[in-house]
Symmetry: C2
Subunit: 152 residues, 2 copies
């Protein structure tokens, strides 16, 4: 139970198709790239700057799952924290559009595509949304479309 | 440059549609679920066992990105380590089919769907593959289809 003075969480009905905006920015550091890769994706072009430069990625590149996790952190912290989130059934069309390199600064944005009340469960609805991350050159590096289940 | 006695990495031509098998197993611990969630997906049902049990997920549930990262680690360690991997353009149809709960043991499997030489770049080909994670009850909890770029 929330304490009496906690702000109420936003429910499904507070979302509208066309909503959207920035979820914030994040800098890509060598230490973070190596730490994530060591834990989850130990391929040479993620673990080592020289191996990255010698690879088709053209530089010391973050794991694609690191980029996805960075987006999730911005989404959880800057949007879902105030929302009755009930999870997600999955992601369609997750795209690693360009390498994410050490030194990049990424901005995450979202756009609500559609809102759909559940046909069978009156306690929830579905928010279809697209997410994008763009680097400091304005180039898209990551995109995905997903559904967030939100309580009513 | 590899040392002279390092085993040669497998190239694109070593993959065939129909290849597949197990990538190994992993146990889901409360400490790992909380650590991943704290770093990347700080939602209450991932951070706290009680909040998880009270949620629609029905227990202390791993972040979906944690499950994806666990699959990536098994893939990198048990398959790509010996392969001329050049990354991936993305994932189609990433599905979180059931909650992954503390205490579960997941097995990852893969199946090669198709192999396609690049039409424009003679140094590489594309390996389309599906991946699945199944829990100790034999229930699928995670699935995705992706393309791995492999050097020739």
């Amino acid at each position: 139970m929330n304490p009496p003075d906690a702000p109420a969480l936003k429910g499904f009905e507070s979302f509208t198709a066309g909503d959207g905006g920035s979820l914030g920015t994040v800098e890509i550091t060598a230490a973070d790239v190596v730490a994530f890769a060591s834990d989850w994706d130990p391929q040479p072009f993620h673990l080592d700057a020289e191996a990255g430069r010698a690879s088709p990625l053209g530089g010391h590149a973050a794991s694609g799952w690191h980029t996805a996790s960075l987006l999730m952190r911005l989404l959880a912290t800057n949007l879902l924290k105030g929302v009755k989130s009930m999870g997600s059934p999955g992601v369609r069309d997750l795209k690693w559009l360009r390498p994410v390199l050490v030194g990049d600064t990424l901005e995450a944005t979202f756009a609500v595509l559609a809102v759909r009340p559940s046909a069978t469960r009156t306690d929830r609805g579905y928010v279809d949304a697209s997410f994008q991350m763009t680097n400091q050159h304005g180039e898209p590096v990551f995109a995905m479309t997903t559904t967030i289940i939100v309580g009513r």
